[in-house]
């Protein structure tokens, strides 16, 4: 194990902002992309349903 304590882990040797921001941003991108795609799919289905019910 690399870290003496949890606070040392979160501190990242003083580079906490840079490191956590990088990883956090990646996570946000992933979540946003998946959510956007779910929404897109629901919308496409809704549109197709409207066409089908016509």
């Amino acid at each position: 194990m690399q870290w003496a304590s949890w606070s040392a882990f979160f501190n990242m040797g003083g580079y906490a902002f840079y490191v956590w921001f990088s990883f956090g941003l990646s996570l946000v991108c992933v979540i946003l992309e998946v959510l956007a795609l779910r929404k897109r799919r629901a919308q496409a289905l809704r549109f197709a349903r409207l066409l089908a019910q016509e």
Binding site: Q2, G13, G14, Y15, S26, L51
Partner: protein, 255 residues
């Protein structure tokens, strides 16, 4: 061994197949990412030169790798679509582009987040960052071209040609940027290629890259399903499907 490839190239057959595959790739991505993160943060040693800030490479380098791999895969799908006039291939190319652009953007941002503590500046015109920036332009051009053409067949084929032209150009651009870079500044610290990289560091990067790869497959399949629904909304199978989901949703809503 003879597989009927054309069977799966029809959207109607591919749609449910993709639906079955997505969870597998998604779980695989999640597991690989968790293991990768454990290796990156718990096992990989501190870099004696760069301290803990180097851990950014565990997301930066895989993102940069993926941005290039996705472009090449995208061009390959596009070429296949152009050669065989296969709709599904073109849709795959279209589905990959936004994910590729996101990884490129991620590589750029994490690169500059790494650069600030290392170089003392948010942006440095280093060869890797500059090429990554140009790659982003190429992705954006592809997406912009496809979205501004209304006729889907023309959009597919024009996009495919652009991707092919791009893929021929990428090595030339990369070489020219490197050449330009070495002329204008001496050697800089090259991230991700430290002379003696610990095996665990490499392992962490590989695991993260694999996780990103699986994620890409899952997301591209999700997107290709959306594209199919949008393009084929006048066909019977999409109409049927949309009515089916209506009933299941209303049941869920009633609970």
């Amino acid at each position: 061994m003879k597989i009927n490839w054309f069977k799966y190239s029809s959207p109607q057959v591919f749609y449910p197949l993709a639906g079955k595959l997505i969870p597998w790739f998604a779980w695989l991505a999640a597991i690989l990412a968790l293991v990768g993160l454990y290796v990156s943060f718990m096992l990989a040693p501190t870099d004696f030169q760069q301290g803990e800030a180097y851990r950014i490479i565990f997301v930066h380098v895989p993102a940069a790798w993926m941005s290039m791999v996705i472009y090449i895969v995208m061009a390959a799908w596009a070429a296949l679509g152009l050669a065989l006039n296969a709709r599904l291939s073109a849709m795959m190319a279209q589905a990959l582009a936004p994910t590729g652009a996101i990884f490129t953007l991620l590589a750029l941002v994490t690169g500059s987040l790494w650069g600030k503590p290392m170089w003392g500046a948010w942006w440095v015109w280093d060869a890797r960052l500059t090429s990554e920036l140009i790659l982003l332009f190429l992705y954006l051009g592809f997406i912009a071209l496809q979205s501004s053409i209304d006729d889907p067949r023309r959009a597919d084929r024009a996009g495919a040609l652009l991707a092919l032209v791009g893929v021929v150009n990428v090595p030339i651009i990369y070489f020219s940027v490197k050449w330009w870079n070495t002329l204008h500044q001496g050697s800089s610290i090259n991230m991700g290629a430290a002379p003696k990289m610990a095996a665990t560091m490499l392992l962490g990067m590989l695991l993260m890259a694999l996780a990103f790869w699986m994620y890409t497959v899952a997301v591209a399949l999700m997107r290709v399903r959306c594209i199919m629904l949008e393009r084929e909304r006048n066909t019977d199978w999409v109409k049927e499907l949309s009515l089916k989901t209506l009933s299941s949703q209303s049941i869920a809503g009633a609970k």
